[in-house]
């Protein structure tokens, strides 16, 4: 275990020897992973392999029973509501939207840490609170445009088709201007065309991405490196080419034949 974190630890997110146990169940066992700035890293594996648990560790929903987390060399003790301030944003499996808020408000909710005014300004309706609110709204509009759902801003999320709701969820993550974006099954429930558009969107991002996904075409197309988990243990790591050629991976997860994108 490295004891001099500042000089030795790499920039970006680094997980070292992470282990998670729920009672007798080993959810993650000795997992190490490095997500450098700007890189797209995928995590794949069969259901129950520990992919979402890995995300939950990074987000602070689950405390690791072993190992360390660092962000840009500094130890990371994540709390979910502090993540956006650290430059980390995550989308949830499914859509995870606020049903009682409009699409625009849903995205604005993700930009809260950019606000400069507090409770008192809002209480008295001061014009600086108004300016602040207008700025958040502009940011939210921009994020919606970027994800191609700008025209839906004033609808409720449940009035949108599923694919567009996924885009709204992505917009809410992007509005926080993350340096690291965690995407939990962003292609789930999407059609082939929509997945292709999503792939283009991910490739065009200027932040690092950690992607958990079942859809192999997407993973192979956008990821520079891929970690394969099986029963909580890392079984392979490498570029899409290496992973595709790995017989252990093929047996554990991919099946006999892999379609090339």
């Amino acid at each position: 275990m490295p004891s001099s974190p500042d000089s030795a630890a790499p920039p970006g997110l680094a997980l070292q020897n992470i282990g998670v146990r729920f009672g007798g169940l080993v959810a993650l066992d000795d997992v190490s992973l490095h997500v450098p700035p700007g890189r797209v890293v995928g995590v794949i594996g069969p259901n129950g392999a520990g992919k979402t648990t890995l995300f939950n560790v990074v987000c602070g929903f689950v405390a690791p029973t072993a190992g360390t987390l660092t962000l840009d060399g500094r130890p990371l003790r994540p709390q979910p509501h502090r993540l956006t301030r650290l430059g980390i944003a995550r989308t949830l499996q499914g859509v995870g939207q606020f049903a009682g808020l409009t699409v625009l408000e849903n995205v604005q909710a993700g930009a809260g840490h950019h606000a400069r005014t507090g409770f008192a300004s809002a209480l008295f309706g001061l014009s600086r609170a108004d300016r602040d609110e207008r700025r958040l709204r502009d940011e939210a509009h921009a994020a919606l445009e970027r994800c191609g759902v700008g025209h839906r801003a004033h609808l409720r999320p449940d009035a949108l088709p599923y694919a567009e709701r996924k885009r709204v969820a992505l917009a809410r993550a992007l509005v926080s201007r993350p340096r690291l974006l965690l995407l939990d099954e962003p292609a789930g429930g999407l059609g082939a065309d929509e997945i292709r558009e999503l792939g283009a969107l991910i490739t065009g991002l200027d932040c690092a991405v950690l992607l958990v996904e079942h859809h192999m075409d997407l993973v192979m197309a956008v990821c520079q490196e891929i970690l394969v988990l099986d029963f909580g243990r890392p079984v392979a790591f490498g570029t899409p080419g290496v992973i595709r050629a790995d017989p252990v991976v093929a047996e554990a997860y991919l099946g006999a034949e892999v379609e090339t994108p």
């Binding site: 987000c59 929903f61 979910p80 509501h81 502090r82 993540l83 956006t84 301030r85 944003a89 995550r90 949830l92 995870g96 939207q97 606020f98 049903a99 009682g100 808020l101 409009t102 408000e105 604005q108 909710a109 993700g110 809260g112 840490h113 606000a115 409770f119 809002a122 209480l123 008295f124 309706g125 001061l126 014009s127 609170a129 108004d130 602040d132 609110e133 958040l136 004033h154 809410r172 993550a173 926080s176």
Partner: protein
Amino acid sequence: MTGRTWLRHLAFLLPAAVAVLALTYLLPPFRTYQLATVGAYLCVTAGLTVLTGLNGQLSLGHGALMATGAYTLALTQNALAGRGQWTLLVSTAAAVVVTTAVGAVIGCAAARLRGPYLAGLTLAVAVVVPSVTSTFESVFNSDQGLSVALDPPPLALGATFPYERWQAWLSWAGALLTLFLLANLVRGRFGRNLRAVRDDEAAARLAGISVARTQVSAFVVSAACAGLGGALFAVLAQSVSPGAFPLTLSLFLLMAVVIGGLGSLTGAVCGAVLLVALPAATHSLTDAVHVSPAVAQRLEGNLPLAVFGVVLIVVMLALPGGLASLGRTLRRERPDP
């Protein structure tokens, strides 16, 4: 959505203030007193609808928070008695501060509880707080309660100025101030965070919202409003006693905001009006239909509750969003601002 928030909200409230002012000159004294009571209830229902409607925290204990405000006002006012009109401002502020502090304590516990457990906690508060008055008899004077030493209306208003009109002015000043501040607060980030936490706590956390902090601040804001409402009640009744804040008061408050429309300040206004109008209407009904004294006595406390229940069911069937959603349904074709 252009223009300044406070100006827009003031533009709503000024006509309301003028209307209330006019009513206090037009209505007979008893009706003016009822109008004043609506104002006091409005402070509480507005705060409760923000907590329960926008933040999803159910409170069965707002009657107890009102009692806290009322007793604080009575004690402060009696301690400062006879020093002038300004003492009322001080004791009202004290009532709000003390109730806010109590609300913060309950809020911290409430932020750890969900659903039925939260309802249970606030229910316990509603039951315990009135009984505190008999435990500390020397301060609160048990079931007898305290009378509140209040000054007559300022002499500048004239020697024959009706007391009810003065009470209505006081209580509506409080109510309109409450509405103004709450409207400012809920239209921006604060209100959005309340609703986000209500809808999905995990997603709210990931969006950078502290769930616990949001829930505690919702409770604190709501308690401050209830404290002001309680203080105004003490001013209106010129006395406080535990009997004025029974458990049924908390239930009435909650039913009122549900009937009015959860989460809507317009709904809170409807609810406050119903809280005064429905029991009054029930009374005049029992007076009109001659029943034996024994039956009348039995109906006394229970009939308003039954009427409220029936109204609740009817409104929920016809307008699930409450009375306030009537206007929204009619405005449906206009796009959101």
